[in-house]
């Protein structure tokens, strides 16, 4: 059954071609489809002025032709793809988060590659990078290689208050993908509750550092992880656990951070700085956070290091980390055993600078090398996206 994509409500379609409304053939991992997606990567990497946006470059790099060829080889070899080809494409509705500007495209393009037609909802509060990406997509879809992509990808923009629109798009799709947070997931799950869905709820991530290697390089890698998306991605490190690291070495790390910051692109502004001050107070009021090594001569303050803020605390709890709202505040605490990191359902990535630690870690959904925290992976938050997208009907509906 096809559903009309016409709305009375105020829905903008920053990207939707006429052809999108027609049922499309399932071209899962077929050459022309892989080329159409890889072409977008090439299109971005050709434009020198985009070099200043590391988030966009990272996305383009992930979808580079060589990487897609490798994924294609793995997928085509599996027996799941062949029976789908030539059938009608599945339909996936992605609800993108407002805080992490590029994640919606990873998820949507992977789903395109798996043979689905996709509608991505962006919020009117979405950031500049999202808007830039949508403009780039629009341009690319007008090119000869891009045309095919437009049959499989559309972008809608509307306010979340228009629940009718969410309901209609949910009826249109075979699978709904919701990128957090918890409240949004709860609210959206109420709309057309029988819709099959995968969800990515609120998560937090931490760094576990031993500073056994070059400190300057480690500092640079830490900035790569902490600065994008104003530290609000679920893989952004909210805190550093120093594993038996002497104070002088930690100071050295922060001096390096301070020296590297002026040349590190970030979007942190004066308002993020004010949010850092407020966050420390909120963590104290709500979760009893206590500063370590305090002189008592002034009230509790963060230490400002350029646009970042840091403070050493006596103890970190999961509740504090889950309540951390980003904005560039790095909490830190000293530990002498990895067991001091509390396990929690919401702990996603443990970012490490010493590969040997991954063997002793039993917390978190993944451990990742410092500098790679935000690198996308087809297994995300414990869910294999390729499997989810290859056969959209294989996911259990919530009531089955």
């Amino acid at each position: 059954m096809t559903h009309s994509l016409k709305f009375i409500e105020a829905v903008k379609w920053p990207l939707k071609t006429e052809n999108f409304a027609n049922p499309q053939n399932n071209l899962a991992w077929q050459n022309k489809l892989v080329e159409a997606v890889a072409g977008f990567s090439t299109f971005i990497l050709k434009q020198a002025e985009l070099k200043q946006f590391p988030e966009i470059i990272a996305l383009a790099y992930w979808f580079r032709p060589a990487h897609l060829k490798q994924l294609q080889a793995e997928q085509v070899a599996s027996d799941k793809v062949r029976p789908l080809v030539g059938k009608t494409a599945g339909k996936v509705f992605h609800i993108a988060p407002a805080n992490v500007d590029t994640v919606f495209l990873y998820s949507a393009l992977l789903s395109v590659l798996c043979g689905n037609q996709n509608i991505v909802r962006i919020s009117e509060r979405s950031g500049d990078i999202t808007r830039m990406l949508v403009e780039l997509l629009k341009l690319y879809c007008q090119s000869p290689t891009g045309k095919l992509l437009a049959n499989y990808l559309a972008v809608a923009e509307y306010s979340a208050q228009l629940e009718n629109v969410t309901a209609q798009l949910s009826r249109w799709c075979d699978l709904r993908v919701i990128w957090g947070g918890d409240q949004s997931i709860a609210a959206i799950s109420q709309i057309e509750p029988n819709t099959k869905q995968i969800e990515f709820p609120d998560r937090y991530s931490v760094a576990l550092l031993s500073l056994n290697k070059d400190i300057k390089q480690t500092a640079q890698q830490f900035l790569t992880d902490v600065l994008p998306f104003n530290q609000q991605a679920c893989s952004s490190p909210k805190a550093i656990y120093w594993l038996n690291v002497p104070e002088e070495k930690q100071q050295d790390f922060w001096s390096n951070i301070e020296n590297l910051l002026p040349n590190s692109r970030n979007q942190l502004t004066m308002s993020n700085k004010v949010e850092q001050h407020i966050l420390l107070q909120k963590l104290a009021v709500e979760h009893g956070i206590e500063l370590a090594n305090h002189t008592g001569k002034s009230f509790a303050k963060i230490k400002s290091i350029g646009p970042l803020g840091q403070c050493k605390v006596k103890k970190l709890t999961s509740e504090m980390l889950a309540a951390h709202s980003g904005n560039g505040l790095v909490l830190q605490t000293d530990i002498d055993d990895v067991a001091a990191i509390t396990s929690n359902e919401k702990l996603q990535s443990v970012i490490i600078d010493d590969q040997t630690l991954s063997e002793t870690l039993y917390v978190g959904k993944r451990s990742v090398q410092i500098g790679q925290a935000l690198a996308f992976d087809t297994v995300w938050d414990g869910q294999n996206l390729l499997e989810c997208f290859i056969n959209t009907t294989s996911i259990n509906s919530p009531n089955s």
Partner: protein
């Protein structure tokens, strides 16, 4: 005058509004603010945790030596937590901020705080308006006051101010349009008396002054006074500054002395009135500090930063020292050419709000 009678509201509420110099003020406020810090630490667990955040159970922040060291609470915390130092059954009034977007501040008052706040407000305004009640023109609608969901800051402001007038005339109807006949007959009747006009800055400008201009109506008031407040954000969007605002008011209404004021629902009763020289003045019950946005270190006079407002009044909630998100410059203390004692300052807008609040919020 007993300056060390810091804990006796009946005494300190009688202090001259702009009459203590920095040394006398320090003597009074240092003791008063320390007492308040102790009091709130003992009665408001959230506030106590904020003090022990520096890692000492008996926080040295309870015993500061200078009033500028008192630990401030971020204004935002009053939006997120019901901070109060009284029991639930002692709540006499719940005040809310007028925020149109996002969450509102919630300020809990018991009978004593409510009384003290209004006493101090009266004292402060009498300094500017005199003790005689004046015929009062309110640039708002009567309907604004009738909000059933607790009292809005705008309604609280109108209600508080209407006390200083008599024979009130509301200049606007329920649609915020000019009630021209009522305004005309009010001004005809009282034109040779000292009329008191009150309204919120942007409403005065757009719904009153501009409406009069488009009707080509001018009046010739004598020794009238206009008090207005509520912020300059919308005025700046229309590129109207303090000077233009005053000029247009005088052009339209005649001899009116115009005074902006600054205040917030988190410290109702403590207001900062603008003097003839364009400076906002701390009354004797208040002191301000400007802090560096990055380090929160105290800045010197003339430097712009985040404004911290300290007040001797709040006993029912821990609001005696608040770090606002407003930017300000302190120009001096005790030496404003207007002759009033205390610190004086100007405001320079707000820190712009960050667009995305918490983590991955797709649902708004």
């Amino acid at each position: 005058m007993q300056i060390d009678d810091y804990n006796n509201a009946a005494v300190f509420s009688q202090f001259p509004v702009y009459g203590l110099n920095s040394v006398q003020k320090q003597a009074f406020l240092q003791q008063r603010l320390n007492w308040l810090t102790h009091h709130h630490a003992a009665h408001c667990p959230e506030y106590a945790r904020l003090l022990t955040c520096i890692g000492e159970a008996n926080s040295p922040m309870c015993n500061i030596e200078h009033i500028e060291q008192v630990p401030p609470v971020a204004a935002r915390l009053f939006k997120d937590y019901g901070l109060k130092s009284i029991k639930d059954d002692e709540v006499f009034r719940l005040m809310r901020s007028s925020g149109t977007s996002g969450r509102q501040s919630q300020i809990y008052l018991d009978a004593d705080s409510a009384k003290l706040q209004s006493q101090i407000l009266v004292k402060t305004l009498q300094h500017w308006l005199g003790k005689q009640r004046r015929p009062m023109l309110i640039i708002d609608a009567k309907e604004t006051m009738q909000n059933k969901n607790g009292m809005s800051a705008r309604a609280a402001g109108l209600q508080g101010m209407s006390f200083f007038g008599r024979n009130h005339c509301y200049a606007l109807d329920e649609n915020m349009q000019l009630r021209i006949d009522e305004v005309k007959s009010f001004i005809e009747r009282y034109h040779n008396q000292q009329i008191f006009i009150f309204g919120f800055t942007f409403i005065v400008w757009q719904q009153f002054i501009q409406a009069l201009q488009s009707l080509g109506l001018k009046f010739n008031l004598q020794q009238a006074i206009l008090i207005h407040g509520g912020g300059w954000k919308k005025m700046q969007q229309q590129a109207v500054d303090d000077k233009t605002f005053k000029q247009q008011i005088n052009a339209q209404l005649g001899d009116v002395s115009v005074h902006d004021y600054y205040g917030m629902v988190e410290q109702t009763g403590t207001i900062y009135m603008q003097c003839e020289h364009g400076h906002l003045h701390c009354p004797v019950w208040s002191d301000v500090v400007v802090r560096d946005i990055n380090s929160l270190a105290q800045l010197k006079n003339g430097q712009q930063g985040l404004l911290q407002v300290n007040s001797a009044l709040p006993t029912s909630y821990p609001g005696h020292s608040i770090l606002t998100e407003d930017l300000a410059v302190i120009h001096g203390e005790d030496d404003c050419p207007c002759g009033r004692l205390g610190k004086y300052f100007t405001l320079h807008g707000r820190v712009p709000n960050s667009q995305v609040r918490g983590c991955s919020d797709t649902f708004s």
